[in-house]
């Protein structure tokens, strides 16, 4: 074990995959200079251990700012023997390549009757909560969940970032990974050796018996904090489930937990309409209506663009306080004066 940051864990998974399989290549804007910190072995950008020095220009390639052709090139390369990792930097830029994602990457295997396999990973960071304004703050994973043929991961811890990314790289299907910048600096002990976390298996971030919170991406630590606070103040036992993989979604793990607790809150940083929370809620209602003791509550970003000013932006995403308020609602606990104040303070 060694202490790794979320970003360091991504770099470690990429390095291990590059070492293990020469079909793995990385391309994207500014990857040679390790601008985003995941294509270098060291702590600074100019360290000798940068991937460019380690693996050479054949396997580490800067690209022009041409997302559509980058994604298409990765698909074509994946169909013909490589296993590319494409670094798309901000997830807002995925839209530039929407045709390639939806019409080529997602459809080619199916359309061609299984002749193609598409072992390719598209990495992008969700820069929300950092005053980057409406063009850089997107959390677009639900849009891609709506496209059959893609697999989608959204890790919330350094361990998951490393283990899930390695499974994504080794998968023969296309995987999009959405990495929240708010988590980049989070640190924990991570195994130094290679390990794989299977796609499609949820993680129980915290065990509990009274209410289930399914939380996604940076909402996971917020949900855990809300759970701790409620355990201390009300003696309530909250279970936090982190799906980690959104496609395929571990529906069984969610249902198992809801069967145990009978109550569900779903928290995620994406927009409300047709979000992952909407899908999870609908599924639980369809499959476990009888065990629900209270209506499901979603804590999501509103269907609103992301404003620049901190005063405006900070109310947009789930926080420990808004999640706590939701848990109180499904448990029919009185709204805590403190939590209400903090929830509205985070909204000011």
């Amino acid at each position: 074990m060694t202490v790794m940051s979320f970003l360091g864990a991504i770099g470690a998974a990429q390095r291990e995959a590059m070492d293990a399989d020469e079909r793995v290549i990385i391309f994207g804007e500014d990857v040679e200079a390790n601008v985003y910190g995941t294509t270098g072995a060291g702590k600074t950008r100019s360290d000798k251990g940068d991937f460019l020095q380690m693996y050479g220009r054949n396997r580490i390639r800067n690209t022009p700012i041409s997302e559509e052709s980058m994604v298409g090139a990765a698909a074509g390369a994946a169909m013909t023997g490589l296993r590319p990792i494409v670094d798309l930097s901000y997830s807002s830029f995925l839209y530039m390549a929407m045709d390639q994602f939806v019409n080529q990457v997602a459809k080619n295997r199916y359309m061609f009757g299984g002749q193609a396999s598409m072992p390719v990973v598209f990495r992008s960071a969700m820069f929300y909560g950092l005053n980057t304004g409406a063009h850089h703050s997107d959390r677009p994973y639900p849009m891609f969940m709506n496209v059959p043929g893609l697999k989608i991961i959204a890790p919330a811890t350094p361990t998951d970032a490393k283990g899930l990314l390695r499974s994504a790289i080794d998968s023969d299907d296309p995987v999009l990974t959405f990495e929240a910048c708010l988590l980049w600096g989070s640190k924990e002990d991570v195994p130094e050796e290679e390990f794989w976390i299977p796609l499609g298996e949820a993680r129980t971030a915290r065990e509990g018996t009274d209410v289930t919170v399914v939380a996604i991406s940076s909402s996971v630590p917020e949900a855990v904090a809300a759970a701790e606070a409620l355990a201390a103040s009300e003696g309530v036992s909250v279970e936090v489930i982190d799906p980690r993989t959104l496609v395929p979604l571990d529906r069984d793990a969610i249902l198992r937990s809801v069967h145990k607790t009978g109550r569900l809150v779903v928290a995620e940083p994406a927009h409300r309409t047709c979000g992952a929370a909407a899908e999870i809620s609908a599924h639980v209602v369809e499959e476990a209506f009888g065990v629900l003791k209270a209506p499901i509550v979603r804590v999501t970003a509103p269907d609103m663009q992301i404003p620049f000013s901190t005063a405006l932006e900070k109310q947009m995403y789930p926080t420990r306080h808004t999640i706590e308020a939701a848990i109180r609602r499904v448990l029919d606990l009185p709204a805590s004066a403190e939590a209400t104040e903090l929830a509205s303070a985070s909204a000011q």
Binding site: R23, I25, N58, R59, R61, T63, P64, S66, E68, S69, M70, V71, G72, A73, A74, A75, G76, A77, A78, M79, T80, G81, L82, D99, Q100, N103, Q104, N108, R109, Y110, M111, F112, G113, G114, Q115, A116, S117, P148, G149, K151, S171, D172, D173, G200, P248, R251
Partner: protein, 327 residues
């Protein structure tokens, strides 16, 4: 121009005949309702297709567009599974999941046809990237129309493949119309000239009805690509004889009748037949070849007729390599 063996010349004629016969039969089958949906034929453009595909070698890659039967046929794909695909049979080359717009036969390097105009261009570039990274001598060729030549992704792909010096050929099938729109009304300048902006050769084959002229131009580009000298753009001027798609009846007479008459006189198969005759090939031999090709198409149709439709459950396979569909 390199001298081609008589066997190669005969194979060119055979493949052009195959495309013609296959597409003529497909057209009839659409009109009789035997093929659901529609098809886009390459009738009239056979020289452009075969001149290009026969300049490639086994192991090379192609991608194509909606006018798509000729590309795999030109690469040597057997006709039975292609025809079965058009009808939606289980034995189709894509198991009935692709249809006319999405033929693909990876066994002959055909990485798939795309219904989205321009969308498969970067896929060919990616195959060239793969060849380049793996250090093989394979090349990739992207077929696309004059209409697709105005998609931005072509220019991203030309730039990126130039920067990476990839073994890819961008082949524009300029049949002078995108559906009803004359190319010159929506195209600024000359398509082939656009290559200069990316520092790559841009070749315009004015007589795209001459299979040898196309073959010569594409062979030069292929040799360049294999030698590590990078990408090329080739624009081939040709003409489609049929409507944009079979069964379509456009109200407006967007193509002047005399224009079509003039191009019909430049039938690539007829022209090449005359060339072969001048090379000493007997009329009997050429007639026999035509009969063989027609028999091949009959066999493909018989194979299709004898094949079952896919079981409906098959619709839920092949999305992922390892993940079952979960309702």
């Amino acid at each position: 121009m390199e001298t081609l063996s008589i066997d190669t010349l005969l194979e060119m004629q055979r493949r052009m005949l195959r495309i013609r016969a296959f597409d003529e039969r497909a057209s009839k089958m659409v009109k009789r309702g035997h093929i659901p949906g529609t098809v886009h034929t390459s009738i009239g453009q056979e020289a452009q297709v075969v001149g290009a595909t026969m300049a490639l070698s086994p192991g090379d890659y192609t991608t194509g567009n909606h006018r798509s039967h000729g590309h795999p046929i030109g690469m040597g794909s057997p006709l039975g599974p292609l025809m079965a695909e058009l009808v939606g049979k289980a034995t189709g080359v894509c198991k009935g999941k692709g249809g006319s717009l999405h033929l693909a036969d990876f066994a002959v390097g055909s990485l798939g046809e795309s219904g989205i105009v321009g969308s498969s261009i970067p896929i060919a570039m990616g195959a060239a990237l793969s060849a380049s990274v793996r250090g093989t001598e394979q090349v990739a060729l992207a077929f696309f129309g004059d209409g697709a030549a105005n998609q931005g992704v072509l220019y991203e792909s030309m730039n990126l493949s130039g920067v990476w010096n990839l073994p890819v050929i961008f082949l524009c099938e300029n049949n002078q119309y995108a559906l009803s729109t004359p190319a010159h009304t929506v195209t600024s300048g000359v398509i082939a000239d656009r290559a200069a902006g990316f520092g790559m050769p841009g070749i315009r084959v004015e007589d795209g009805q001459d299979v040898l002229a196309v073959h010569d131009a594409v062979s030069t580009a292929v040799a360049r690509a294999r030698a590590g000298e990078g990408p090329s753009l080739i624009e081939v001027v040709t003409y489609r004889y049929n409507e944009h798609s079979e069964g379509l009846r456009l109200g407006t007479d967007y193509r002047p009748a005399d224009e079509r008459e003039a191009w019909l006189k430049k039938d690539p198969i007829q022209l090449f037949r005359e060339h072969l005759r001048s090379q000493g090939v007997s009329a009997d031999e050429l007639d026999a070849m035509e009969a063989e090709v027609l028999a091949e198409v009959d066999e493909a149709v018989a194979f299709t007729d004898a094949s079952p439709y896919p079981d409906p459950s098959v619709a839920f396979d092949d999305l992922y390599t390892d993940t079952e569909y979960a309702a």
